[in-house]
């Protein structure tokens, strides 16, 4: 069943077309890697899905509801971590999570249970009384994820959750995201390609505001991109050495002429 449906979404900022007629669906329980160069339109698209930004055209449905008509209900179903974790650094981890639970409508009876649950899930128990300002970047990222899941959303949207982290912290954050697989659908943008290969089932790639890849990870990595002088095409090939996501990403971005818009189907 589809948890997120994006239908012909476009977004213009004046003359700039940030997102250009993108359509896709995400099914419940998937972990979807959302790739693209900086400035490709990933954050803009994620902000439209979270209803932070309005679309210029097109429709977005979450769990069957149109986000323009049921904005509040839909925000209850979404957990969102922007690129910079939205933290109040003068609060302790516990105070911040309590505040997040309150504004996200977690009932007062369930608040203590939910806070304890996310503290455990995100391995934050031993820092719960610490001021957020004193935490390392890795811990701050985990607090950001904890606030995003505290109200048990169906869809978790993470904008570059591993950005600026060291390799150990990346492993910890990705393990945490991987653990969400059974409870919720995850759409995450990232530049950590070797790592996303380990946890994602599906890849969306955006280039200059257009969706150029929408495939399962397995299918994508058994394809080979052949560029011809007249344009580009994709053919199935059996290879002794499978492609890596990094290779696919580089191939797609090396030559502007390779852009192929994925059909809305």
């Amino acid at each position: 069943m589809s948890i997120l449906t994006v239908e012909h979404i476009s977004k213009n900022f004046g003359a700039l077309q940030a997102v250009d007629d993108i359509s896709f669906e995400i099914n419940q329980g998937d972990i979807v890697g959302f790739l693209g160069k900086n400035g490709a339109g990933k954050t803009t698209l994620m902000r439209m899905i979270t209803s932070f930004l309005a679309t210029s055209s097109g429709k977005i449905f979450i769990d069957g509801d149109d986000i323009t008509k049921h904005s509040l209900t839909i925000r209850q179903k979404i957990g969102y971590l922007p690129e910079t974790p939205p933290l109040y650094t003068n609060m302790t981890v516990l105070q911040y999570l309590k505040f997040a639970a309150e504004i996200k409508g977690v009932s007062s009876k369930k608040q203590a249970i939910q806070i304890a649950k996310v503290l455990e899930e995100c391995h934050l128990e031993h820092v719960k009384f610490k001021s957020i300002s004193t935490l390392s970047k890795g811990y701050k990222q985990r607090v950001g994820i904890a606030q995003a899941i505290i109200h048990e959303p169906k869809l978790l949207i993470l904008d570059e959750p591993t950005s600026g982290l060291d390799p150990m912290q990346i492993q910890q954050v990705l393990a945490l995201i991987n653990n969400q697989r059974e409870q919720r659908t995850v759409l995450m943008s990232t530049h950590t390609l070797p790592e996303i290969e380990k946890i994602a089932q599906r890849i969306l790639m955006i280039k200059s505001g257009q969706l150029v890849i929408d495939e399962s990870l397995d299918t994508l990595l058994t394809r080979r991109i052949i560029t011809e002088s007249t344009g580009s095409s994709e053919i199935q090939s059996s290879q002794s050495k499978p492609l890596t996501l990094e290779q696919v990403f580089i191939d797609y971005h090396q030559d502007q002429s390779q852009t192929q818009k994925v059909s809305s189907n």
């Binding site: 109040y88 003068n90 105070q95 606030q147």
Partner: protein, 236 residues
Amino acid sequence: MNKVLALTKKELHSYFSSPIAYIILIFSLSLFNILFFMIIDQNREVSLRDIFQVMEFMFIFIIPLLTMKLFAEEKANGTMEFLLTSPLTPTMIVLGKYLSMLIFYSLLIGLTGVYYFIVEYFGNPDPYSILSGYVGIWLEGAFFIAIGLLTSSWTRNQVIAAMTSYLILFLLYFSITFTKYFTGFAENFLIQFSTRTHLENFAIGMITANDVIYYLSGILLCLVLTRLSIDHRLWQ
């Protein structure tokens, strides 16, 4: 309502976990106390009328310092995105923040309540005119806070937010001084536009519908404009 109160608590926590709340409280009360004793000593009157007018003038400078961070800081830190993507309406966000400032301001005003007991010790003051003066200064502060909230929603820079508030508050306060250059409707408009006209009535114990409506409509207008300002940014 629970979400509004959660935001209010968060704002108050933010003020009281930094030195700013204590500095503003101590600075304001010290200044009011000095001026109170100077005025009482000079006038030899058992009335707080003049102190209310001094407080009004001081609040033009103090309140923008309180309100400048309300939205500007959230925008600068990226937490505005967190609030706007949470299941909160812009109205809840505006009310939560406004309520927190009203509570802080009421505390500040409440602490000056001791002045009544001091003047009562020396004479026989009219409690109703003092009460009406407090109602007036509270309404005026509530109006100033709403203006500060609005200007803070326009920018991510706290200094710009404070400066814009000062500009609006100076216009409101000093507009009455320009009446000598105008006649008829313009003169009457400037008199009605100025906060000084309206507080004067409260300070002498007169609560009129005209003055109450002036403050309440000003507050409502600023809150509605703040909400629209957030909405506009949300859907731009």
